[in-house]
Symmetry: C2
Subunit: 612 residues, 2 copies
């Protein structure tokens, strides 16, 4: 209304992108055009008005600005932007959501401009923080942009990230909030009240800029302002219209996740007006700063004494510190329990490579994902029980194809008096069920050190499980430990059974075997420290030679070591008897709990007596 303004030079580009969103989702038969349409100007201005600096031909180039679609369902917009940029063919766009296209329903890493996989809402800002922190660590000048939907502002993970980004004064991070008012099923809690969002976000220490999300000039000005703000992150809060550009669905409920077909589509395309095809939009080139990267250096050897009593959590903390020079890209994160996880050892020695993420496990895992996407090797630690808080972030991490290490301490009932809420009893199954994951569970300090090294040199999602209590040294410092390996203790030709254990139960297994030997019964003991992949060959051999396998674990009976062993044994799975944690554990001493839940030496012995 009011005075006439000349159309912005990017207006035809925005129109073309709208057409591509409508056409591609119609062709696919599914997708989220209305949620894509609301953010067209926000992203068009970012990419094509000189703000976003990137080398399109080298998406992984370290100086490129980064754009994360936290509202991953707006993927058709993301793809259409790169069609406009000329690096994705329009015919590829028209293969959206098909089996052999890199353009999936939500952004996945095979699309080269995906920074982290999204599609589970509320995760993108944490990843953006990880990326922005990596820039600061490497002293690179690139900026990170995160496109947020207003519905996902209900997710607590977003507020963890908002809180933390301001605390870290990340002025190289800009969030773009697409306030289109409507969620999947109707009005959001905030609606179009952008000022309310601004008040909330500012209360955490951000600067905010409220704009009309369809005014290309205003948006461009906001990006310029955001770039100039020092000492805090900025959120551009944009009032937008869901379905913008298609008058008959604009701002109307009931059009979430619904493409337009047939007459609707024809009508929408007609109302859009003529499309200026094929003009390839230039994007600003990145700066060419050199990163501050550390060189790889040799490290000291593991050196424990036979008489030491050290918890595996402490040994992992020591190992991270010892191994830091060998893995110059290693960054340790901790959820405000560094004095329990012993990552404090690393923190003290390498303060610039440590991130205290406070009690906000989702944000911690999200930051890890962001760091990993930029070539860092994150190792994130908290109690095993509390990693369940970040299950969804870890689930999404399995799709990233990056290497991320998670360390869960205080596993199992053997923590003792603190009680059930603090006991990690479902962590093995949570990590086992991730595609391509590695799950390691040391029983002593030597294996903890060695397996930390293996974790840091592995690929994909790696989980290191650690116990709370001190434990004796079982292995010589030279003992090798491998992903997929195991160590056989007390093997003889006339073993009557095999005890398969890991972590705290290995000590119980060894005690049981010793006790039985006094009664002239030989049993084999296997330290199955690699839960995934599991040493199927050794287990099969034991099953054939000793007939009975008793699997003892400080974990629930479902999805943990017993299930892993049975799965590894294949046709020999019937030889397995499982001892695991049934019932709800009570506060008590570790020994009382191992006994009460029948995973101690006594339970192993009585089980074996019945079997043999």
């Amino acid at each position: 209304m009011g005075r006439e303004t000349k159309p912005h030079r990017l207006e035809p580009v925005a129109r073309r992108i709208r057409r591509d969103i409508l056409a591609s989702t119609a062709k696919a038969g599914s997708g989220h055009p209305s949620s894509s349409l609301s953010a067209v100007e926000l992203t068009t201005a970012l990419l094509f008005d000189g703000h976003f600096r990137t080398d399109l031909r080298h998406p992984r180039y370290r100086n490129n600005d980064r754009l994360i679609f936290s509202k991953g369902h707006a993927a058709p917009l993301l793809y259409a932007l790169y069609v406009a940029a000329g690096t994705v063919a329009r015919r590829e766009l028209m293969r959206l959501r098909s089996r052999t296209s890199m353009l999936e329903g939500h952004p996945m890493p095979e699309f080269p401009y995906t920074e982290v996989p999204t599609g589970s809402l509320g995760q993108g800002l944490s990843a953006g923080i990880g990326i922005a922190l990596s820039a600061r660590m490497d002293r690179l000048p690139f900026r990170t942009y995160v496109l947020l939907g207003d519905s996902e502002m209900a997710e607590g993970s977003i507020w963890e990230a908002i809180q933390f980004a301001a605390y870290e004064r990340l002025d190289n991070l800009t969030a773009i909030l697409d306030v289109n008012r409507l969620g999947q099923r109707g009005l959001t809690m905030v609606g179009h009240n952008c000022a309310l969002f601004a008040r909330r976000v500012e209360s955490f220490g951000w600067k905010t800029i409220i704009v009309d999300g369809h005014d290309l000039r205003a948006i461009s000005a906001a990006y310029r302002t955001a770039r100039a703000i020092k000492g805090t992150p900025t959120m551009i809060i944009a009032k937008t219209i869901k379905g913008r550009g298609v008058p008959f669905i604009e701002n109307r409920n009931g059009w979430h996740g619904k493409p337009l077909f047939g007459r609707d589509l024809a009508r929408a395309l007609k109302e859009l007006g003529p499309i200026n095809e094929g003009h390839r939009m230039p994007i600003a080139r990145p700066r060419t700063a050199k990163p501050l990267l550390l060189a790889k250096k040799p490290v000291a050897a593991v050196a424990y004494q036979k008489a030491d009593m050290i918890s595996t959590r402490q040994a992992i903390g020591a190992a991270l510190t010892r191994l830091a020079p060998k893995y110059p890209n290693l960054i340790v994160l901790d959820g405000e329990v560094e004095n329990s996880t012993y990552t404090a050892l690393f923190h003290t020695k390498y303060p610039k490579r440590f991130i205290e993420t406070y009690i906000a496990e989702q944000n911690m895992a999200g930051i890890a994902g962001g760091l990993a996407s930029r070539g860092k090797l994150p190792a994130a630690a908290t109690f095993a029980a509390f990693l369940s808080r970040a299950h969804d972030q870890i689930r999404m991490a399995q799709f990233a194809g990056t290497h991320q290490v998670f360390i869960g301490t205080h596993a199992g009932v053997s923590i003792g008096q603190d009680g059930a809420s603090q006991m990690g009893l479902e962590d093995l199954t949570m990590f086992r069920s991730l595609e391509g994951s590695t799950v390691l569970y040391p029983a002593d300090a030597v294996s903890a050190e060695k397996l930390t090294d293996r974790a840091l040199s592995a690929k994909g999602i790696v989980y290191l499980r650690a116990g709370r209590n001190t434990a004796p040294i079982l292995y010589a410092n030279s003992t090798p430990f491998t992903v997929g390996g195991s160590i056989t203790h007390r093997s003889s030709r006339n073993d009557k059974a095999t005890i398969v254990a890991a972590g705290v139960t290995l000590n119980e297994a060894l005690k049981a075997a010793e006790e039985l030997q006094k009664r002239r019964v030989n049993v084999r003991v296997i330290d199955c420290y690699s839960i995934k992949p599991i040493d199927a060959a050794t287990l099969k051999k034991a099953a054939r030679q000793t007939k009975h396998l008793v699997v003892v674990e400080d974990h629930r009976p479902e999805g943990g070591l017993a299930d892993a062993v049975r799965s590894g044994l294949g046709s020999l799975a019937g030889t397995v008897t499982s001892l695991a944690v049934h019932g709800i554990p009570h506060s008590a001493t570790p020994a009382q709990l191992l006994h009460a839940h029948r995973i101690d030496a006594a339970a192993i012995i009585s089980t074996l007596k019945k079997i043999i």
Copy 2:
């Protein structure tokens, strides 16, 4: 400083509670005295200055005010309060954290004044919302109080709850924020800046009252003010001193989770001064309002036609609606996907029994826990994949002993084009690994209706898994379905193998069996709709009679149906071959994905060919 004021009449009570905190944690040898000491006045004033109204002898009485220790590690304070109230013996307190005491390291339900188990931080406020909502639904005048720690304000779940409580205008809810400045390992992000907390919390629509957390008069005045505020929840933000009352640990880092022993303890007790023993503190009596409760009514029978094509998610939505009169305490919650989960059917018919929790799954699960603690039967729905967001809340729920139903729709790769981020592939193992849980997975609309009924009449944590796509009706409306049951299809004396399936793979199994029968090969098919408990007897019989079991599931190979079957088979576990989802699924049609991940009829046939 300044003018002398007469000590508050509760000051000796606070001193006695401090002594009990120190003595009990010293005796236990572990625990969190410093975090308990900071909140002594906050809770003493609440309970003993006429604010908190409860019938101490009947902790479950419906009109009692409710107090949740979200900072569960302050359990010694919680227990000491009830020692002061005279309903817990001091000798019991001195058995803190021992195997046979009801006073565990963190509050558990065996302590009768525990509303919900806590100990994983950031969860108490959501439970408080559930309780406050139950009061509103039942038109009961009791109030709900939640004691929060400042460290847990970093948890996003807290901000989900803050956002939602204000949105719901819960003026019967008071949060008490104990700002003692120090977390486990040091300063929090906010420190003693109570005004900053106030600004943040108020930006979400709460009223806040900042008080000196050790000034009993000021605290009492704050509770009075909070009670009078209408239309919004109130947070009392209290500046406190960690370790208050023990000068040499007050406000000092390094004293988290550390009892005082020996000389330290003696010195602390001496500095506390003389204790007035044995005076039993009265607590205000509750009001005697009668609740507005619905009566149980008969419901219509399941009535599908053989030709219907209905998704299990839709059938579950229909079943919740149909069964609502039979379960008058049923409350349905949904994470802003009611039009996908079909809980919209229930919402439309029973709007007062439906809670839209928006995209905040942690808060949704926490509210469910609070509702269940007050006798409601919550059924909380979202995509199966996104229930992983609430894993920690669901983990804590297993300790509550209450009945809570979770519904996860869009399970598996069979959702198709939306891609991996939306596919629930780890949900079966997540729910299986909970103590006493029930996991049900219907394959058609009839079984979905019947199993919804079973879920609502079961106990503990129940998970209902649902598929996205329409499916044929397989069962007569009269077919019974039971927890722990299964249904055998196509059984004969010369079955060469058994296909064990559930949900979408049952249809593939039936197709495969039909195809094989054309080639004169008989195979048995079992619909293993009860994943936990599993029908071990039927599976064992099949293993004995048919020798080979091929288990096909739209889930990861770890922790799901195959592991459940092997576990149920015991010594016959070796007969199992698993077909499950390996690799990272791509956007594609459901049929393409079932095929690509080798869980379709073709894969079953080719697997059976190799085996038989």
